[in-house]
Symmetry: C2
Subunit: 197 residues, 2 copies
DNA sequence: CAGTTAATAAATGTATACATTTCTATTTAA
DNA sequence: TTAAATAGAAATGTATACATTTATTAACTG
């Protein structure tokens, strides 16, 4: 079932699949020709992609390790906050959702693991029930995707086990443990990925 | 010395000073006429204002109390994180800056107090040294301004004293105390303002 | 030859016409 | 009388021409 991708989705996919030369400026005019639209919608799309840390000026945004650390600091701040809320709010059904995503991640092929892991973190974030914080998190979706892809493809050790431990902490309603575990989990993702990227 | 305000600054000021009827849609066409420009720059400005939680769809964004609580949850998360960093990083000169802003806030007329208080919080945020978190904070600038104006104008009790206590906690390098105080401080700002707004 | 300046090209910024969508109000049918 | 349908108006979406700014490169000068 082929969905009709929006212009934004098309450009985003092309960026994530490495279609663009990061040395060459993506001028509005060139993009307009490439996607056979006028400059007007291209401008909107570029704005959105800058918002998501994929483009800067007119270039593919190649964040420095420092930038990635800063982005992960923001991500960690939000997910740590989310754990606290999850421990407060999650019932058996929510915890079951988390456990199922862990099972799927273990069982599946790479891309199933990838999407199951995404589900795990998104479920955690859902506990916040704060659209402003959620949006700030979602803004990092593309960056988070790039890192998740790396840790799954290059098989970072203990990746899924750590998810299981986090669920344990939630079941035990142990806030300090949960926060510590999620922080360690994300730190490892970051360092592992920076090593390979 | 009259600076030449950008279109964005003009519209933003007009919104903050209550120039627009919140029931009436700010259509691109009407705004273009009002500010004597074409729809193109108006669109950009509207996007920016939506980004800052001042406009939604084409209407003045009138956040619900729930929205304000959520925005303050995000603000508190960031400022609490900042305190931790400040306790780790701030030297005597930084602490002195904070103290000076408190003196100014005590001494000055209303608008001096307002800007001194803004300085206090911005200085705190500067300890984060993370452009992504700073931007997320600055995005709330307009909202924060509206609240600060209310608490200063309506003379919320203990406002400046609480700043002084926070500086104490930083000097004592007491993280738990600092976090607790900033959280209480912001909670009071929120509740006080919601009562009056 | 290095560094500045001027000329040119190419990009972004802005205005505007036209296309499409969304909203509003009025008619029509149940 | 309510609800659905529809015509008209008004908004946003898109393309494009023109204005302005920025970048590039060629020419000039010390």
């Amino acid at each position: 079932m082929e969905r009709n991708l929006s212009l934004y989705e098309k450009v985003r996919e092309d960026i994530l699949s490495g279609e663009f030369d990061e040395k060459e400026k993506m001028t509005e005019i060139k993009l307009a020709k490439k996607y056979e639209v006028s400059r007007t919608p291209i401008r909107e799309v570029l704005k959105q992609l800058e918002f998501e840390y994929l483009v800067k000026n007119g270039y593919i945004y190649k964040p420095s390790p420092e930038d990635y650390r800063n982005l992960f600091e923001m991500r960690t701040l939000i997910e740590t906050h989310a754990i606290e809320k999850a421990i407060l709010l999650f019932g058996p059904s929510d915890i079951n959702d988390l456990k199922n995503s862990i099972e799927k991640a273990y069982a599946g092929p790479e891309d199933e693991t990838l999407s199951a892991n995404k589900y795990f973190h998104d479920k955690l974030i859902s506990s916040i029930r704060n659209p402003f914080l959620s949006e700030t998190y979602e803004r990092m979706n593309s960056i988070i995707y790039l890192f998740s892809r790396t840790v799954v493809e290059r098989q970072r050790p203990n990746l899924i086990e750590e998810h299981a431990q986090i669920v344990e902490a939630i079941e035990e309603r142990d806030v300090a443990k949960g926060k510590r575990l999620i922080k360690e989990h994300l730190d490892k993702d970051l360092e592992f990925s920076l090593y390979y990227m």
